[in-house]
């Protein structure tokens, strides 16, 4: 089956070509939506078929490279358009196409009546196409192509409603938010590219299999590998919104909600996690980088979670929640629990997509209202949305036996056992905050008395929106059972499945086996207790008084403002990076070098020029003389360098 992997990628391409080229002619939303969703659905079906086929094969025969054509060949340097079909990429493909398909279907209802309906589906299909290239690539160049491609789609989709205003630091239009995302991502991409160049320099190849093969014989602590992995990780912090590059993701919520669900929650932002996991063998060789990854992940998790507490925009809360959950995934990777990281990618895709789509449903019903302080009591009017939202909230808060419980618990356990108790503590604290802000949001949105204006008539969304919600909520419930740990009598199927992919890394790291189950039980009990506490406090506090925030704000003063204003990170970046660069360009190089030096001399000579000529005055002969003078200066420098 695996040889048909090219088709998985091809279907979205066909979809985007049809909608992109003929969409304006088709006009019929049902047709456009069906083409867009159908393309992804077909890919999903094929991915399932390949998955089942792989299940039937022996574990060591599950990895294949399917070469389509030679892409670039320059001397010894050769890159093929080739896809690597193995346990990891198939899992990611299933998530991307599966969740992607549901979100496509949801979008048919959500985008109903939008004047750029076809454009939206074109972009979505383009995104799926790029994302599949990213996860299926068998080499860094093709992965980079997908990496840039998803960034481009993210940019296009954030600014999709470009006529719309959007509030943020130095941001007024959705287009600005798109720009910010693109810019910040380029910083990460730059590091990724450097990492790629270093890999080429060190290994002489850019194919995953060959690089990992050579890595097998390398010593732990190799300094080149350290730089490679660090640079790649910086790339990941851009795409996956980690400290210090996380600032773009909350503003990315300017895009339509299905985009937030698909790109900025379920799939694209996990690309960094996937990339690190794909390079697990390299990371295993660089314990220092691993430590950096773990710390960055843990700090991001708690920082974003704390910001989430003080946000009032329903999508902003979810955005910070995403950043925080991505932090968990990196924490897992950093302590060497690659499987746990990927497991959380999967479960997170289910419940976070569901939450985002639920929020979209709410926003739709409330006529573009996003502030949870003006909601409340929606439980009765939109029961499907409420129940699916509630289930997903329980999942993200880590209530057993929902999916989030298993994946998050495994991360916390591994960070305790293979990392350090401090990491575990940070993770646990973040989990408490997660449960708290999630139920603050659920309570303010759905429970209590309505606080919306009388002219609004919220209603349940159409089936094309509620069915994907139900499907995702169901996945959020059962998705975790593939990873039931041994202490609870489970087989941890996902661990078995992914084991061959990470075997090399695990061998290099040589982590100790943990046989004493007592600690694990205790930690598990604690995390359940944390979830329950967060739920109880969050619900109680805001059910009693929807304006509890103001009381807290009054009591804590600066601390609350610090959270509400997101630790002033945006402002700091603006002052420290953005303005100086623009200023240097504008005031120094342009105003000073071009205007002052060149034109300054010119203006002096300008008087002379004006006096001597009438017609040629406009031509500013003075300028040319000074240009010529600069050429002479350049000549002197050139000759000086040559002779000396």
């Amino acid at each position: 089956m695996h040889q048909y992997v090219g088709l998985i990628v091809l279907f979205p391409l066909i979809g985007l070509l049809i909608n992109g080229l003929l969409g304006w002619k088709i006009k019929n939303e049902k047709v456009i939506g069906s083409i867009g969703s159908g393309a992804v659905g077909l890919s999903f079906a094929l991915a399932v078929a390949i998955f089942i086929d792989m299940l039937g094969a022996a574990p060591e025969q599950r990895s294949h490279v399917v070469e389509l054509f030679t892409w670039i060949a320059a001397g010894s340097f050769k890159v093929s358009a080739a896809y690597q079909v193995d346990q990891l990429s198939v899992l990611m493909t299933l998530v991307v196409t599966g969740v992607g398909f549901l979100i496509h279907v949801y979008s048919i209802g959500y985008m109903h009546g939008d004047r750029s309906f076809a454009r939206f589906f074109t972009y979505l299909n383009l995104f799926i196409f790029a994302m599949l290239n990213l996860v299926l690539a068998d080499n860094y160049v093709l992965m980079f192509l997908g990496w840039e491609g998803v960034g481009l789609c993210s940019y296009l989709l954030i600014g999709f409603w470009y006529q719309k205003k959007f509030e943020g630091v130095t941001i007024t239009w959705t287009g600005d938010a798109g720009n910010k995302a693109f810019w910040v991502n380029r910083i990460g991409d730059f590091a990724f590219m450097l990492g790629m160049f270093l890999i080429f320099k060190e290994f002489g190849t850019l194919t995953f299999n060959e690089v990992m093969g050579q890595a097998d014989t390398m010593a732990v602590g190799n300094s080149t590998v350290f730089w490679i992995t660090l640079l790649l990780f910086i790339g990941a912090t851009g795409k996956s919104a980690q400290i210090p590059l996380f600032i773009w993701l909350p503003d990315a919520m300017a895009g339509p909600t299905p985009v937030s669900a698909l790109i900025h929650a379920a799939t694209m932002v996990t690309a960094g996690v996937y990339m690190v996991a794909r390079n697990s063998a390299l990371y295993a060789l660089a314990p220092d980088t691993m430590m950096v990854v773990a710390i960055v992940g843990a700090v991001t998790a708690i920082m974003a979670a704390s910001i989430g507490i003080a946000q009032n925009d329903i999508k902003k809360v979810l955005a910070y929640s995403t950043v925080s959950q991505l932090g968990y995934m990196f924490l897992a990777l950093g302590v060497g629990a690659f499987t746990a990281g990927i497991f959380h990618v999967m479960t997170h895709a289910f419940f976070k997509a569901c939450l985002f789509l639920g929020s979209g449903s709410v926003i739709h019903a409330m006529h573009e209202e996003q502030d949870i302080r003006h909601m409340g009591g929606l439980k009765k009017v939109m029961p499907y949305t409420y129940w699916t939202f509630l289930i997903s909230s329980f999942a993200i808060a880590g209530f057993p036996p929902l999916s989030g419980f298993f994946s998050k618990d495994e991360i916390l356990w591994k960070s305790f056992a293979d990392g350090s108790p401090i990491l575990w503590f940070i993770g646990a604290a973040a989990a408490l905050m997660t449960a708290f802000y999630m139920f603050r949001m659920v309570t303010l949105t759905f429970e209590g008395k309505p606080r919306w204006a009388d002219d609004k008539h919220p209603h349940e969304s159409p089936p094309s929106m509620t069915i994907p919600l139900i499907a995702l909520a169901a996945l959020a419930v059962v998705g975790g059972f593939v990873g039931v740990p041994a202490v609870l009598g489970g087989g941890n199927a996902i661990h078995q499945w992914l084991h061959p992919v990470f075997a090399q890394a695990e061998k290099t790291m040589a982590l100790p086996e943990h046989h004493a189950h007592t600690t694990e039980y205790i930690l598990m009990a604690i995390s359940v207790a944390i979830g329950v506490t967060g739920w109880w406090v969050g619900r109680r506090m805001f059910l009693k008084d929807p304006n509890a925030d103001e009381r807290i704000a009054a009591k804590t003063g600066f601390l609350y403002r610090l959270l509400a204003r997101k630790y002033f990170v945006d402002e700091a970046y603006d002052a420290a990076v953005v303005r100086p660069v623009v200023k240097t360009s504008d005031s120094f190089l342009f105003r000073f070098f071009d205007v002052r030096i060149i034109d300054g001399i010119v203006n002096g000579a300008g008087a002379l020029a004006g006096w001597t000529s009438r017609t040629l005055r406009v031509i500013q002969t003075g300028v040319v003389q000074n240009y010529a003078a600069l050429i002479v200066v350049g000549l002197v420098i050139v000759l000086g360098l040559i002779i000396l």
């Binding site: 001597t612 000529s613 009438r614 017609t615 040629l616």
Partner: protein, 118 residues
């Protein structure tokens, strides 16, 4: 070594003598009826002492350019004529190409009216 420069010295001497003699001869032999225009530096009517940023009619340049082009042509043709036998048909073909290129330019110039004075 130094002897080989004797012909050049001779040429220089002859050139100087030729110049001096011919200028003085015309001064000696020619009739002299001076008037104001004849005394000016350029008989074409251009005033030699005024601001340097003076508008010239483009026609002067047209004539001057054509003059230079055909003057240079002779510079090329003269050595070819001297070596005509040795260069043979190849030289003839090459020189024909050169003249054709020049002729195309000349026809263009004529047709565009560059040499029409009015």
């Amino acid at each position: 070594m130094i002897e080989s420069y004797i012909p050049i010295l001779l040429i220089i001497g002859i050139a100087v003598i030729f110049g001096v003699v011919s200028i003085n001869l015309s001064w000696l032999l020619g009739p002299q009826r001076p008037y104001r225009e004849k005394h000016s530096t350029y008989e074409s009517g251009v005033d030699p002492v005024s601001t340097a940023h003076y508008r010239f009619s483009v026609k002067y340049y047209m004539v001057a350019l054509s003059f230079i082009v055909f003057d240079i042509e002779v510079v090329f043709m003269y050595p070819w004529a001297v070596q005509f036998r040795e260069l043979g048909w190849t030289g003839f073909v090459v020189m024909s190409v050169f003249i054709v290129v020049l002729a195309v330019g000349f026809i263009y110039e004529l047709k565009k009216g560059a040499l029409q004075w009015d």
